[in-house]
């Protein structure tokens, strides 16, 4: 049986000889496929290695970034703490300063108000004083006129008296001839009176011119003072506004301090505050500029 088996084995062996090239071919192909497979596997392994290295590098970079971020956060946090401390200091300072400042502004405003009241009062006194001076000047002029008129009247009296006496004498003597000396005296008196009248008119004319010129100057000064008073009034109003704003600032700071952590929601809106200030603080640059542009000051509808 074993021989048979050997026979059958050799038969099989010999029978299979023609298949050897096929088998070898298959082996070669398999080997080639295997090489390809190994190459593929190697490539896959290389790829995995690459990915691994990449992941490792990325991980290391991420760690570095995280560490940098942590350091930055720490720095920023310490800066924020410093700023917060500084802000708290500022707030304390403002709270200390605000009442003092407010008091100063109030005092300043009161002082300005007093100045304005005093100035207005003094100005009213000045106007009445000027009025009195003008009246006095008028009276003086009137007095001079009276003086000159009295002279005229006296002269006329001097003139008329001799004429009347002469006429009386003539009537008594029933003679129509007028005394020559009386006529001469009357003529002299008339001439004197006319020259006095002329002198009075010259004085009066020059006084009127001087008075008119003075009145113009006084009127100009009065207008300047009235404009200056308006500017002072505006300054007073602005000081009132500043005082009110300071009180508001004080209240806002106190509110922020009370609310503590919720600071951001209660921070002062700088832009809004600036807009508010722009709206409320309207100042005219200078009186002279305003005076130059007086045409824009009046509009008729």
């Amino acid at each position: 049986m074993p021989q048979v088996k050997n026979n059958s084995d050799s038969k099989f062996l010999y029978g299979s000889l023609p298949a050897l090239p096929v088998i070898l071919g298959g082996v070669i192909v398999s080997w080639q496929d295997g090489a390809t497979l190994y190459t593929g596997l190697f490539n896959v392994l290389l790829a995995f290695c690459g990915i691994g290295v990449g992941l490792f590098l990325w991980h290391r970079h991420a760690n570095e970034l995280a560490q940098t971020n942590a350091r930055w956060e720490q720095d920023e946090s310490s800066k924020i703490d410093a700023v917060a401390t500084y802000t708290a200091e500022l707030e304390r300072l403002l709270l200390t300063i605000s009442p003092i400042l407010s008091q100063h502004v109030m005092v300043s405003r009161e002082h300005t108000e007093q100045e304005i009241t005093s100035l207005t009062g003094r100005f009213a006194c000045m106007v009445s004083g000027l009025q009195q001076i003008v009246d006095t000047t008028d009276n003086t002029l009137g007095g001079q006129q009276h003086y000159h008129l009295d002279s005229v009247i006296d002269a006329s009296h001097d003139l008329l008296q001799p004429v009347l006496e002469s006429l009386k004498r003539n009537r008594q003597a029933e003679n129509n001839v007028v005394d020559d000396s009386t006529l001469l005296q009357a003529e002299t008196n008339i001439n004197q009176t006319l020259s006095l009248l002329s002198l009075a008119l010259t004085h009066y004319r020059s006084d009127v011119e001087a008075l008119r010129s003075n009145a113009e100057q006084i009127r100009g000064e009065i207008n300047n003072v009235l404009v200056a008073l308006q500017f002072q009034d505006r300054v007073s109003q602005i000081l009132t506004q500043v005082e009110s704003n300071l009180l508001n600032l004080q209240k806002t700071i106190q509110k922020i301090q009370q609310q503590g952590s919720n600071r951001d929601g209660n921070m002062i809106q700088v832009e809004e505050a600036v807009e508010h200030i722009e709206e409320n603080y309207k100042l005219v640059s200078s009186p002279s500029n305003r005076a130059a542009d007086s045409s824009a000051d009046l509009t008729f509808f």
Binding site: A124, K282, S294, F300
Partner: protein, 122 residues
């Protein structure tokens, strides 16, 4: 007979300044500190012209002008707005309310007096 002019302004100093300018020109002056106060003083007496500020407490100038135009006795009284405001919108509002002229503060007294002389009825 002297003409009567009403000055409406919340600033006492400004009323005094306008008063000096007007009295110096021979006008009689009535003072009021806001629109409401002015209306309470308009009790039938002759007022030839009103000089009013715009920004005032209690009742502002534009509302005051509108209220005056509702009063039979004073609806034809000319009103001059005397204000620091320069915005065209406010000027338009004053004109629509019935104001006759607009003078900007700080004013030169001759300008205000010229405007008054032009508007006051002879």
């Amino acid at each position: 007979m002297a003409k009567t002019i009403m000055i409406v302004d919340d600033s006492a100093s400004m009323r005094q300044v306008v008063g000096i300018a007007l009295k110096g020109a021979g006008y009689e002056v009535i003072e009021a500190c806001d629109g409401k106060d002015a209306l309470s003083k308009m009790t039938g007496g002759k007022i030839h012209l009103i000089v009013s500020d715009i920004n005032m407490p209690v009742m502002d100038g534009i509302t005051f002008v509108k209220e005056v135009k509702q009063l039979d006795h004073y609806k034809f009284t000319p009103i001059i707005m005397l204000t620091t405001e320069m915005e065209e919108d406010k000027k338009r509002a004053a004109k629509e309310a019935g104001a006759k002229a607009w003078v900007t503060k700080p004013f030169q007294p001759p300008i205000l007096l010229a405007a008054i002389a032009k508007l006051v009825q002879p």
